[in-house]
Symmetry: C2
Subunit: 322 residues, 2 copies
Amino acid sequence: MKKLGEIYSSRIESALEEFYDRYSHLPSLYSPTQYILSLGGKRIRPALVLMAAESFGGSIDKAIDAALAIEVFHNFTLVHDDIMDHASMRRGRETVHKRWDENTAILSGDVMMIQAYELFEHYDKKTFKAVIKVFNSVARYVCEGQQMDMDFEKESDVTMARYLRMIELKTAVLLGGALAIGAIVADASAKDVDNLYDFGRYVGIAFQLRDDYLDTYGDASTFGKRIGGDIVEGKKTFLHIYTKDHCENIAEFDKAYAIEDEEERIERVRELFTAKGADVAICAEIERFTSKALKCVERMPFSGDIKERYRQLAMALGGRTK
Amino acid sequence: MKKLGEIYSSRIESALEEFYDRYSHLPSLYSPTQYILSLGGKRIRPALVLMAAESFGGSIDKAIDAALAIEVFHNFTLVHDDIMDHASMRRGRETVHKRWDENTAILSGDVMMIQAYELFEHYDKKTFKAVIKVFNSVARYVCEGQQMDMDFEKESDVTMARYLRMIELKTAVLLGGALAIGAIVADASAKDVDNLYDFGRYVGIAFQLRDDYLDTYGDASTFGKRIGGDIVEGKKTFLHIYTKDHCENIAEFDKAYAIEDEEERIERVRELFTAKGADVAICAEIERFTSKALKCVERMPFSGDIKERYRQLAMALGGRTK
């Protein structure tokens, strides 16, 4: 994945610099938008827009505004999600609502959503309507996914089907939407746009499941977050739901989560996950969604070289758990 | 103004009912959106969309989605503004963040903005792009106006020019935008669209200034809010800024605002406003913006009857202070 980011990163960063310059007239509103966007990140989503556009023979110049729109929207969700999660740090820096305050974070987030829509204004009216329709549905899905995620915190029985739907909405559709929008900008057919959307969606689900897996079974030195964080928070992830579904004795499950010492609790819950086969099951699920994505690649109307890039993307984002 | 609301209200309410039905699949997210929209209000903004469309020979059927989009957007701003203002009541009922919680209010507000954009999807691509461009700029202005309003709370020297710009952005442009969007939907020329936008903007400024006037000089039995509320909050309104600008001795001004007893403070500050001529000045300013609006009416390409409706609208919303 790093490779994808690298290919387009200089173009994305320079376009962002130009974007910041357009909003210098009210720093109290726009400084936080520049701040969050400047924290970096892997720029996967805008790179997907550019990659899709290029695959269909479109130019980066033409696709760059759509790429920024997706990145600005993604960062809007980070600003508002960080408020909702009471998160104080993001990418090693203070979150917007910590550095400024909640009101600023709410309003700057709001204006970022509008900025995202404004970025599409350069497209001709046919392209404009087509991309905004995809963008609208994806943006709404992301909100629905976030709401489901918050709902799950209060619910005791989250089914696997609803969990998979939640990660699809919250995370995966934006990857699909980024690819679809890049394809639309390059005048791809509706069938090809849909196929790219599905590819991104499947890869996104696999990506999120892999994140779940690594949160419990990963290597602290490469994962970047504390191993076992989901267990400590009692998050209803795939591993959690699968294990609970396969416990004959639910008291055993509750007991493991009730252990006071955090490290001991992580250890004990992880053992229980493994004993119930949740680790094997999640890897199979990741493989399943990665296979679906690879089947989409077969249907893409590209040369072997370009198809290979999509295959590598699927493997890099979701494919491997080791 | 009440008359305008009455003319279109049954159509607006029934369209809202249909709108609610489209979002029944995730009540935790969409119930708050229905709740805030159901609190009522005068529906001035959607009525303006319909009035403008009708004036240009467009049908209400065609304009109704655009009207709802404006109302949904307006209600999104209420949900987020109420969080920022720590307001617990709205239209005699609990605000969304009080009835649910802040996270719900943030996310439901976010999704309402997206719903507003989705409501435009029924328009053909030419109309779609034209209305979204107006909507984007108006939506961004509203955020900028809200930010300026929050900034003013922390600033000691707010100039009159910036105050007028703030109320223009926060309140007036959405009235102008509603009329402009209604006109676009009915295929009005760019010149006529701009003229309607300006009419709405001038009326909106006059309307907000009149609200400032009535907050201090109004009749409690008809105003609907506590008289003197702005004074108690120390709000930098037209009256406040004008009086401060015309005080030879600023200590006199500060002293009036420092009076402990609220009723006495209101009384004393009001006397000071009047002594410095702020009441006369604000009425002159209201007249000035109402005159500008009436000049726009002269330029409208309508029959005398229709022009008369716009004149009445200008007088009802901004024209009179008694």
